[in-house]
Symmetry: C2
Subunit: 480 residues, 2 copies
């Protein structure tokens, strides 16, 4: 009985991964030994050991939670991953495909034939089928849709029709509805009759004759109130609810803010159409944060850690190409001042400092603005004040770091005029970069993208080009 | 009755913010008018309008959820924020302080006297008091601890004793325990007697005589099983459980993986000591993601959007100072080749491209490695393979982009040798930067920090210095 899972989930799953890796290594050793001495006598031994390893691995996988199998698949290099995938019971394929990341899912689906895919997808709920559908071959999706009854097909189609960043794309169709005019006792009898409740059910949805939501009943009220009480008297009649077209990111913030576990989703006529649950919101928040990080670093999408070199390169080329173009423009700015650099080569050594400090300080402003935009904290009422604050900080930073660099420059080159140009250029470029950090994400949002999308590339372009231009331009005017 | 909250939470709270801002603006207008014409007659009018605005604002605030008030406080510039804070009912101060970000919390606490702080903190649960305590003046904390009974004091002390990134720092003490040898009916009677259940209660914790956890009972099983059934027969006897010293980030991953709403927390002897809930995990995940983004951009901590310039500057100086040092070193590398640049000024224009492309491509590798480390996907079994993949991509990128830059360089300067140096330097620096992107976060983890902490500064240092050194060095050897 005393079988409490003593390890935190993470240790447990890491142990499993280690065991899987060990069995695979043993298996490979056997195979390589057999390949080396290709004798009939060994074949029998090999067959036996092989079977034993495979059986052990299969047993291990069967015991694991689908999410744990997904984690193991993600951590394995491609050929080991496909070997393990082959051993997973067919009826579990669907739930595991739902758990793995998009990039790894592609690698698994590529290794399955249409029949296997159809069987895997067939075991899923409609909201999960909609998650999977965009990654499946078209003929499999068609076949799959034909196999569903009318209501389910409508659900899948509806889920697929919403933008991937809307509440509609995240909702499920598993909820329990009750009427307001019954008692707790009747409700309890009804629930016992159902036999099971959907996962995460923390509240029942109270609807009227027209399927319109009129309130929600937290399960705990069912438990602590008098069985004779009527639902209407104990329900909450102004619950937080969403529409399928609402932004998923706003809904996630509402889940955080109001500590929700589930929330009803309504059509424009207040009719209940679905449910949003906290586990999906959690996944969404994690995915969104990762996407921001990836797009800041110039990766177009999530990348399988062990994807082929070719695939990975394609994922990275867009931003590298854009970066090459912007770097070339910055380089032409320097090129325009080659005459000045020839006369005073110290300029070449100092100019990267001006550009680099601008980039860094601009990136601090940019990150705060991206965060403020994501949390809806920036509005026209406070935007000017924020801009003024960032400009003031840039001024202060410019005086401090510009001053320090002036002293350092004088120390290195003994040239007072050069030192003053350095100080002035630092100050000016920090001011420019604070404005670039402030405006770049806002501009990108206005163009209809996520604020982090390409913001750093734009910022670096401005701070580099302007940094070179200001410093070399000032030097040319003042010194030469 | 039909009072469903039609707006998503976000629209609702943004509306409230707009209303608050409007009232404040109206109020300021009145005040400025009165200041301009300081006549006795107007004083009466002013007093009236003033009272009316303030009353309207106070009413609006009273209606809002504490989290919504927190959002409004965060979005307001300091003086407006403090004016609103003054109007919030004293008994709500505590729950609102818990909801605001650390930076904004400081600004609110600074405006309160000890008596107010004591009253605010006194209204909170012990885990919330522990959250707040580090931000309170020492004498307030002492006073507060004295006012608690022994059990609560022990809980606060225990919560404070854990590292902020451990499960112990996130746990609460609100849970319902039951015995295994009773029936569902008895349990239901017991719950009705309790009158209310803690928020997020999705399962009851089943304990033995020694307070040791022997299982959990999901509430939905209470609802759908026969009232005569015994708890022992329907409970789950191997639930996911954590220890207070477990890493909070691992626990958060377990919540995501197993779709948990709550989980029990046990001491080394399996005795139940606390509970972890999904709302806290959600906040933790969001905060962790933000911290990563901030520390990548060189901000030491979360910053109040409207903090004073001085505070903000202090938050940003550490990384700017480090960046100045690394930029100076890179500048000295260039300085060492001033002779070469004097002879061929094209080098000065081309060198930022080599450094910049290295920085960008290294940052792609770095981001994937940081993500892989955060998800525990990188182990000694697959690390070499991952390194090889990143090196291969760098090789491919080096050939492609180095080749393109070779052609561009020849086009610009008509110098074949320079074009070849450019290509070779690009290739070499991309190889160096992929290794820097791969090793920097792993090194930082080994030094006991979060992988994102300073990783970009280290990377930029390597890609800049090495980029300049490789390009200028090659040019000096080959061309001059």
């Amino acid at each position: 009985m005393n079988d409490i899972n003593e390890e935190s989930g993470q240790e447990h799953v890491e142990d499993s991964l280690r065991q899987v890796v060990e069995i695979i290594a043993r298996q490979k050793l056997v195979e390589s030994l057999v390949h080396k001495q290709d004798m009939p006598r060994h074949e029998l031994v090999e067959a036996l050991v092989h079977k034993q390893n495979i059986a052990e691995l299969r047993k291990k996988l069967d015991e694991l939670h689908p999410a744990d199998v997904a984690y193991i698949l993600e951590a394995l290099p491609i050929e080991d991953r496909l070997m393990v995938w082959d051993l997973v019971k067919a009826e579990r394929d669907g739930e595991i495909l739902i758990e793995v990341s998009d990039a790894v899912r592609e690698s698994l689906i590529a290794a399955m034939d249409n029949r296997e895919l159809l069987a895997a997808a067939g075991s899923l709920d409609t909201d999960e089928i909609a998650d999977l559908a965009p990654d499946l071959p078209k003929d499999v999706v068609q076949e799959l849709m034909k196999s569903l009854d009318e209501q389910k097909r409508a659900q899948v189609e509806s889920s697929l029709s919403y933008d991937e960043d809307s509440v509609g794309a995240l909702m499920d169709y598993d909820f329990v509805t009750i009427r307001a005019d019954v008692t707790i006792e009747t409700t309890l009898r009804y629930l016992r009759m159902l036999g099971d409740l959907p996962t995460h059910t923390d509240k029942l949805f109270v609807v009227d004759n027209g399927k319109r939501l009129i309130g929600v009943l937290p399960i705990k009220r069912l438990l602590v109130h008098d069985p004779e009480a009527h639902i209407a008297a104990i329900m909450i009649d102004d619950p937080v609810a969403f529409h399928p077209s609402d932004s998923a990111s706003d809904a996630a913030q509402a889940f955080e803010r109001y500590d929700l576990v589930t929330a009803p989703i309504l059509d424009p006529h207040d009719r209940l159409v679905g449910r949003l649950t906290v586990d999906v919101v959690l996944d969404y928040i994690r995915a969104e944060a990762q996407e921001d990080m990836l797009s800041m670093a110039g990766l177009r999408e999530e990348e399988d850690l062990f994807s082929t070199v070719w695939r990975a390169a394609k994922n990275r080329w867009l931003w590298l190409a854009i970066n090459l173009c912007t770097a070339l423009i910055a380089s032409r700015v320097v090129g325009a001042f080659e005459g000045s650099i020839e006369k005073l080569t110290a300029l070449a050594a100092l100019m990267p400092i001006v550009a680099g400090m601008g980039g860094n300080s601009g990136s601090q402003t940019l990150t705060l603005v991206v965060r403020g935009l994501a949390l809806n904290l920036i509005s026209k009422d406070n935007a000017n004040r924020l801009m003024l604050k960032e400009l003031s900080i840039a001024l202060l930073n410019g005086l401090v770091w510009g001053g320090i660099m002036g002293v350092v420059t004088f120390g290195l080159y003994g040239n007072a005029a050069l030192a003053m140009v350095m100080s002035a250029a630092m100050l000016l470029n920090l001011l420019v970069s604070s404005m670039a950090g402030y405006w770049a994400p806002r501009l990108i949002v206005r163009m209809g993208h996520d604020p982090a999308f390409g913001a750093h590339v734009l910022l670096t372009f401005i701070t580099d080009s302007m940094g070179f231009f200001i410093f070399l331009g000032l030097a040319t005017v003042v010194l030469l």
